[in-house]
């Protein structure tokens, strides 16, 4: 082995030990080998149950819906905000936009609760203005079935994150191309889709992967703001795993591997799509 490879060894070692040991352990237990509760026979029952039972399917679909909605809205809002930031070179406004990135999700969830719950500030303002006559007339935005509160937390955190990341890329771009295109008579829309988008699409796909995987399997936010009847997948796994009797654990591990598989598939598909789109192969 090359002496220099040793430099990366601790990093690779820690990551692979945790990932492979965890996945192996999960695979073993989910396939029915769990001696602590007397399970020793190999079977695919747990996977079948996780994939076929309506309860798990609903949970998976609900998480997908939340993750896709939050991610796409964050990307659209974030890119728009990045262009806005590029036009306004004001230091203190940029700093405020940066703030939510370093706030933990638990605190943002608390802030959103205080803001848009039925007894929250927005509801109080509506009452004072006279639009509603009591807190029960304010629409249910927290613990609601569409996950509005959960989406609000993710958007509050991720739009600034996308904006700041995209801004860093936009500022590195060769703006000369845009000037040339303008002189040749290209419309703003044409410039955006044939010059700017190809140059930033790789970053956007990386952001898509990170945001999708995070929101898909996020635990704290749906735990605080979710609807008890519409569970997200992380909550389902958590509940299966923390049951007092250990017999539901094999199911939890089967679910773990299924959601890991979904995240990996989405990531590799996104990378493949990004590669075949304009700008995918070139390094800007």
């Amino acid at each position: 082995m090359n002496r220099k490879t040793l430099f990366a060894l601790p990093f690779i070692l820690l990551n692979s030990v945790i990932i492979f040991a965890a996945l192996f352990k999960g695979l073993q237990i989910s396939l029915g080998y769990y001696p602590i509760v007397g399970l020793k026979d190999f079977s695919l029952n747990n996977y079948q149950q996780v994939l076929v039972e309506p309860f798990f399917q609903k949970s998976l679909l609900y998480s997908c819906y939340l993750a896709l909605t939050a991610t796409f809205l964050s990307l659209i809002g974030g890119v728009a905000l990045a262009f806005l930031l590029m036009k306004v070179p004001s230091c203190w406004l940029h700093k405020i936009i940066n703030l939510p990135i370093s706030l933990p999700h638990i605190i943002v969830a608390l802030m959103i609760m205080q803001l848009i719950s039925q007894s929250g500030i927005v509801s109080r303002i509506f009452f004072q203005v006279g639009w509603i006559n009591g807190m029960d007339q304010f629409p249910l935005l927290i613990h609601d079935s569409r996950g509005f509160g959960i989406l609000a937390v993710f958007l509050y955190k991720e739009i600034p994150f996308v904006a700041v990341t995209t801004l860093a890329i936009l500022q590195q771009l060769q703006l000369g191309y845009i000037e040339v295109a303008k002189h040749l008579g290209a419309s703003t829309i044409k410039i955006f889709f044939s010059i700017i988008l190809p140059m930033i699409q790789k970053t956007l796909f990386t952001l898509f992967i990170i945001l999708f995987c995070f929101t898909f399997a996020s635990f704290e936010v749906p735990y605080l703001l979710g609807n008890p009847r519409n569970q997200t997948i992380a909550i389902t796994t958590y509940e299966l795993f923390t049951q007092a009797d250990l017999t539901t654990r094999p199911l939890a591990f089967a679910l773990n591997l299924v959601i890991s598989g979904i995240c990996l598939t989405v990531s590799f598909l996104s990378l493949a799509i990004s590669r075949f789109l304009p700008g995918g192969r070139k390094i800007w």
Binding site: I18, R124, F253
Partner: protein, 265 residues
């Protein structure tokens, strides 16, 4: 793209900043409120009740100390692991940058709940649950992507030129590190350290599962209060939490950043 005048852009940005700041303002107001019934817009009574309640909680000070200890240790170990790895990845030509990116981001791609529950089962067998070492190990795993991303970019900008020059002039590896790499890497290291500290400080799930209830940190105290709708106390914990992260970042910036010399980058 819509054409916006710079004045409209400014006001739109001002509005965004206002929307972002508003909930933070109410978080602070909540933490100092004694009575704040519906539908009043501002607290009816302002007091330090939540602060006193928090101070009297026997697990409060241990949680602060644990949080700091774990986050500082995680920051130190993450940088120790990420620096040589980032250096190696920035110079190697074996793998395309895209694949390195995937490898670095793997802990962010794989669901945290899956990794944490499996790791707990594994750590239980090797007696790492309920120990600081176990928690720091799993925190490091979740923080490394952030450190790697920043340090990799720093090493790419630094290039190999200075090092090769120093080498050909006969400098020893340690001399090269202390007089070239360290000063030039300081800005990157400070950013990486701050980010890792914040990420580690905010972790809930890994601490909850690997700590096994024996080791309590601030997020572990905060979550139940937020969940039970005890807004005053939860907000006070959040404010203290944020002040602690600011203090930690400040200390790290002073410790690593120090006085900068050499060329501004």
């Amino acid at each position: 793209m819509v054409k916006l005048s710079s004045k409209t852009s400014y006001y739109l940005l001002l509005l965004t900043a206002f929307v972002l700041l508003l909930p933070m303002l109410f978080l602070v107001l909540w933490s100092f409120s004694d009575r704040w019934m519906y539908p009043s817009l501002f607290p009816e009574k302002v007091a330090l009740k939540s602060l006193n309640q928090m101070r009297l909680d026997p697990s409060f000070f241990p949680a602060v100390l644990n949080s700091f200890f774990i986050a500082i240790a995680t920051t130190f170990i993450s940088l120790l692991i990420a620096m040589p790895a980032a250096k190696y990845f920035s110079l190697q030509k074996l793998l395309a940058p895209r694949w390195i990116e995937v490898m670095i981001y793997l802990p962010l791609i794989l669901p945290a709940i899956a990794i944490v529950t499996s790791t707990q089962t594994l750590f239980l067998q090797v007696h790492l649950t309920g120990t600081f070492f176990g928690i720091i190990l799993i925190h490091t795993y979740f923080c490394l992507p952030y450190a790697m991303q920043i340090l990799l970019e720093s090493y790419r900008q630094l290039g190999e030129g200075y090092q090769l020059t120093a080498e050909s002039l006969g400098a020893k590896p340690w001399t090269i590190f202390w007089s070239i790499t360290w000063p030039l890497m300081r800005p990157g290291l400070t950013t990486a350290a701050s980010l890792v500290f914040i990420v580690s400080f905010s972790q809930y799930l890994p601490t909850f599962f690997i700590g096994g209830g024996k080791i309590i940190t601030l997020p572990l105290l905060l979550l139940p209060y937020a969940n039970n709708g005890r807004f005053g106390l939860a907000s006070m914990y959040s404010v203290v939490f944020l002040l602690c992260t600011m203090l930690g970042v400040f200390i790290l910036k002073k410790a690593i950043g120090g006085v900068t010399y050499g060329t501004e980058r």
